[in-house]
Amino acid sequence: METIAVEKEVGKKTQTLSGAEAVILSLIEEQTEFIFGYPGGAIMPIYDALYGYTEQVQHVLTRHEQGAIHAAQGYARVTNRPGVVFATSGPGATNLITGLADAKIDSTPLVCITGQVPFSLLGTDAFQETDVISLSMPVTKWNFQVTKPEDIPGAIAKAFYIATSGRPGPVLIDITKDAQFADMEYSYKKCTGFRSYIPKPPVDIEKIKQAAELINAAKRPYILFGQGVILSEAEEELATFVEKTGIPAAWTIMGLSAMPTDHPLNVGMLGMHGNYGPNKLTNECDVLIAVGMRFDDRVTGNLSRYAKQAKVVHLEIDPAEIDKNVQTDVAVLGDAKESLRLLAEHCNTNEHSAWLDRFKEYSKIEYDKVIRQELQPEKEGLSMGEVIRRINELTDGDAVVVTDVGQHQMVTCRYAHFKKTKSNITSGGLGTMGFCLPAALGAKLGAKQREVIAVIGDGGFQMTLQELGTIFQTQAAVKIVILNNQFLGMVRQWQQMFFDKRYSSTELINPDFVAIARGFGIEAATVKERNNLDGAVNTMFDHDGPYLLEVMVEKEDNVFPMVPSGASVDEIRLE
């Protein structure tokens, strides 16, 4: 019979508690600051236990379980600590699925706890019973059903360990109601490892040497870095490696802010709406050094014509990512921090100015053909890019920028400049509309001293706008910017480019967003004219507390450059 082995420390006192109280104490042992959640029948004992610990841990009552899990993601992404979520059984649990999938694909550490019907009712189609273990299996790194109170501390310890170690990810623990009520002897021991799981493969020094040899001999080496750098807190090691070797480096969307935007060797963003040079020159480099990134199809475009000329070095913690999409010549398994440190030691000091100039040439072309238009438009209507750039300038690039999914997301990733790490929070892999508003709330709670700006499209805002209620209740000073083009803009752009302008179900007749915000007790304004933009943005930042600014932008602007779906990265289009 399976159990979670609970190692009891010799001599450590135990105390008799309910399983529900054990949940709360275990979370406190793991330094949980916030629990994002929503109560319901099957998790009521846990909520009852929580009532006695409100000074140690703060519960954030969201307005929907999806809001809770996205808020936990925002918190996790800005702190590199696990986000904790509570939900009840049945619909409470199923409402977590989108967030779990999002966190899984973007490697975000979460510990989700769901209540479950009593053990005796499992499998009887009881009220609010759903098999959340099976449902969440493909979208969790690990999950476990607890039916005995004595398994609670061990399961939670294991959950935190798995969520945060190696390649992080979401875990879910489902606890039957009878196990929450029943008494147990409580003691807590943190999990530090178990047999079947090797979170950090040891770095093989021979691989480092082979990689260094390729890099030292390279004429046109090129670094691509992703979120792995942020997750392993390897920002300094990356900077040292890049600066020592003089190699141009481009970031993926998830890697944004891992080094400052204006670093002389940061050449910009990869991918479908990335920068011109970084995409084009992928197919001209001779050694490609991928760090903590997974060659997503939005980055690679057509794989059969992706960097075929290059030797590929892949620094990666997850063995399953090696050779998954791009065949590597040297795979360095391990934590990015350690791998980068060792690699920098073994690489020669170098510079590649002629090669770097190629990026600058492409950058100029992109500026002339795309960026100037976007930042200084001749049209009357505001462009998304100019709005983002102004907000960015007025916050001196210090803010945490949270985005939703679509055109505004691509524009923000392209035009926001970052100075500090963990400043870009977006749904990268899953592309979850509705992510932004709750994620921004979580981010603000995790980084109270920082300005947190939620940039959202008018479509995505309406997917989770109920979280304005949570923002009002917590008074988290999130600055919400709706870029309103009255369209599902990215889908409309594709319809324009690839579906003969057949705008099937993409035009939105929107409600009055300012009235909605005010209805939730949040101050709000709308701005249409360029002349009023700075004033409106300053008013937003000067306001003490949360604020919503609706910015009316051009209805039918497109995001360029663009690597069309199925095209090669060097077929990137500027118009």
Partner: protein, 182 residues
């Protein structure tokens, strides 16, 4: 070119882990030809034997995904010539439909099958071997009037020395988080 692969997975004994592993096949639209699970020679460790008909590249990738699951200890994959493998099949015949026992015995002998059990009205025949052989007997028994047929999943052992026991030993020595600074 697609071919038969036998994937052998050593896992901790956990509820739902089989579901987690099989969903990886579903996600990639890979049909599982056969599946057998049992406790392995190591106490508390289970062995899954999964047979698929797939491309080599796709197979290697799914093996990595399987191994990535935190409670999977190790996964291996083999081509048919790298393992010794077998299946078991049972066949049910009605005694009152058997006019010629002599002919039946000849068929059983030719197929290296045995009569496992004689029940009141039925005869249960057992045959172990590769799928082709158990299928051949199925065809041969059809004229006698088959009233039941079942074939197990493949069981398989590699022809070479298993590296798993060493791997397990290493894991147990280093079950704590390992950070090697060379």
């Amino acid at each position: 070119m697609k071919q038969i692969f036998t994937i052998v997975i050593f896992t901790e004994n956990k509820i739902g882990l089989l579901n987690r592993v099989t969903s990886l096949f579903t996600q990639r639209h890979i049909n599982i030809e056969s599946l057998t699970t049992s406790e392995s020679e190591y106490t508390g460790i289970h062995r899954f034997t999964v047979v698929i008909h797939e491309l080599e590249d796709k197979t290697f990738k799914i093996v990595k995904q399987i191994e990535k699951q935190v409670e999977v200890i190790k996964a291996f994959c083999f081509k048919d010539d790298e393992t010794c493998y077998s299946e078991i099949a049972l066949y049910k015949l009605r005694l009152d439909e058997l006019s010629d026992m002599k002919e039946l015995n000849q068929v059983l002998e030719a197929n290296e099958a045995i009569i496992k059990e004689e029940l009141g009205e039925f005869l249960i025949i057992e045959k172990t071997g590769h799928k082709e052989a158990t299928h051949q007997l199925f065809e041969d028994l059809k004229p006698f009037g088959l009233h039941g047929f079942v074939r197990s999943g493949r069981v398989s052992l590699s022809k070479t020395y298993s590296t798993f026991s060493q791997h397990l030993q290493d894991l147990e020595t280093h079950s704590k988080e390992i950070i090697t600074v060379n």
